[in-house]
């Protein structure tokens, strides 16, 4: 894999053997131990939680563990995946929704075993694309070739507004940022997801400052 071609900001996510990678591998193992880890919607209580980086890091970890994975950017309002990778967004999810070819065709492997699919051209009415049954079918179709499909989703309020995102897939992974996400908001979001009957698989605590974990382990 040519890490040099990747943007510097995402390069740490793909570095095999790094401490960061080991954390993503732990996350991957925990996710795989859950019964509903096929198509997972990754969301956060608000912007800035780091959903896209978690998707990429988790996807890369899964791939390195020999589990074929895919990351699909379905945040049509604010596409991020192609920006993080420093790539164009000419084709992607919306292309598959409009065309006949499978979604796999509109992505590429960022690293061996990890398919990344950007949003593709964003239509004037992105919500209607996400709400369609075809969206669920197209994304779920990736399971034929991928063991785990991670959907880089809009913030949790958007997921709750979308029946497809909240109930169309196996479950939801909530990303909270250790220094940006307000606890109250995160708690309210968790409550809202559970009250809506969403299968909340678990939480990822992202962006934990160096040293904080050791202090936490010391307390425990």
């Amino acid at each position: 894999m040519n890490l040099g071609a990747l943007k510097g900001s995402v390069r740490p996510l793909f570095e095999a053997g790094s401490p960061l990678r080991r954390r993503f591998e732990e996350l991957a193992e925990n996710l795989l131990s859950r019964e509903s880890s096929g198509c997972v919607v990754v969301t956060g209580p608000e912007r800035g939680a780091g959903c896209t980086s978690v998707c990429l890091g988790l996807g890369a970890a899964l791939a390195s563990m020999g589990r074929r994975a895919a990351v699909v950017d379905c945040n049509l309002a604010e596409p991020q995946l192609h920006r993080m990778l420093g790539e164009p967004n000419f084709v992607g999810l919306t292309s598959a929704l409009a065309g006949e070819k499978p979604l796999e065709h509109y992505g590429h492997e960022a690293v061996p075993g990890l398919l990344v699919v950007p949003t593709g051209p964003v239509p004037a009415d992105p919500d209607s694309q996400i709400e369609s049954q075809r969206f669920v079918e197209v994304v779920s179709g990736l399971r034929e070739s991928r063991e785990v499909v991670l959907l880089d989703a809009p913030v949790a309020a958007g997921v709750l507004d979308s029946a497809a995102l909240s109930h169309g897939f196996d479950g939801v992974l909530l990303v909270v940022h250790a220094t940006r996400t307000a606890k109250r908001l995160a708690r309210e979001t968790t409550d809202s997801l559970l009250e809506a009957g969403v299968n909340l698989i678990g939480v990822v605590l992202n962006g934990v400052p160096e040293g904080a974990e050791r202090r936490g382990e010391g307390r425990a």
Binding site: R47, F169, L174, T181, G202, V203, V204, L205, G207, E213
Partner: protein
């Protein structure tokens, strides 16, 4: 959702904070709580120092009617107390006998006289005096009580003021100098400050905890969200903007 089997943690009640969770949150804010407690103890110590030492001594005087009284003993005791001690002259004389060097107003502020009536002992009064040292407190309370006894006898014998008083008074309990009153008061202030500190500090800690953007660790996240934390990702310098 394809998987419909409810997980145990999802089915748990989420609106109440358990004792363990509360203790965990408070422990996480122990420095804040300790700081509030320390600050309040310091304030209490300062107040105790400013107020200075205070010692309380109490004397008890019994009142015996010479004739059958038609009213209840408590009313009788109230009337005798009012009649005997009315005006400042009585208190001035009591202060003089006690060797009080301060003003009459200060003497009155430190003095608490109340009437009582019991089944066994009948009517009477208690005289309590707050002094800056134990001997002074006892001396003032006894001086007032003795002067009261003398004045009752005097009024009853002479039937002055219309001869309305017919009673005897006896000093039933002399005031004795109290011990370690100041230390006890300081300890009481400190105990109250510690209690208030824990309450205020704990409340502030819970408020701050609910509003903070800082998550300590996975356990903190599990406690707050009551959901399993599958992974903890350390901060790395480049994070995407969303």
């Amino acid at each position: 959702m394809r998987s419909t089997s409810p997980r145990s943690w999802q089915a748990e009640r989420r609106d109440d904070l358990s004792l363990y969770e509360t203790a965990y949150l408070l422990w996480g804010r122990r420095r804040l709580i300790g700081g509030v407690v320390a600050a309040l103890v310091l304030v209490a110590g300062g107040v105790a120092l400013i107020l200075g030492p205070s010692y309380s001594a109490q004397a008890v005087v019994g009142i015996t009617p010479r004739e059958e009284i038609g009213e209840d003993p408590q009313t009788f005791a109230d009337e005798v107390l009012l009649f005997v001690t009315k005006g400042d002259e009585f208190k001035r004389e009591a202060a003089r006998r006690a060797g009080w060097e301060g003003s009459l107003q200060e003497f009155k502020e430190r003095l608490t006289v109340s009437s009582f009536a019991t089944q066994e002992g009948g009517p009477g009064i208690t005289v309590r005096f707050e002094g800056t040292d134990p001997v002074e407190a006892a001396r003032a309370a006894n001086a007032y009580a003795r002067h009261f006894v003398e004045r009752v006898d005097e009024l009853s014998e002479s039937r002055l003021a219309g001869g309305s008083l017919a009673a005897d008074a006896q000093l039933r309990q002399e005031a004795v100098p109290p011990e370690r009153g100041h230390v006890l008061r300081f300890l009481a202030y400190a105990a109250a400050a510690i209690g208030m500190g824990f309450l205020i500090g704990g409340f502030a800690a819970l408020i701050l905890e609910s509003r903070t953007n800082l998550w300590r660790d996975a356990r903190d996240a599990e406690m707050t969200l009551r959901a399993p934390v599958l992974g903890v990702i350390p901060d790395y310098s480049a994070e995407e903007p969303r």
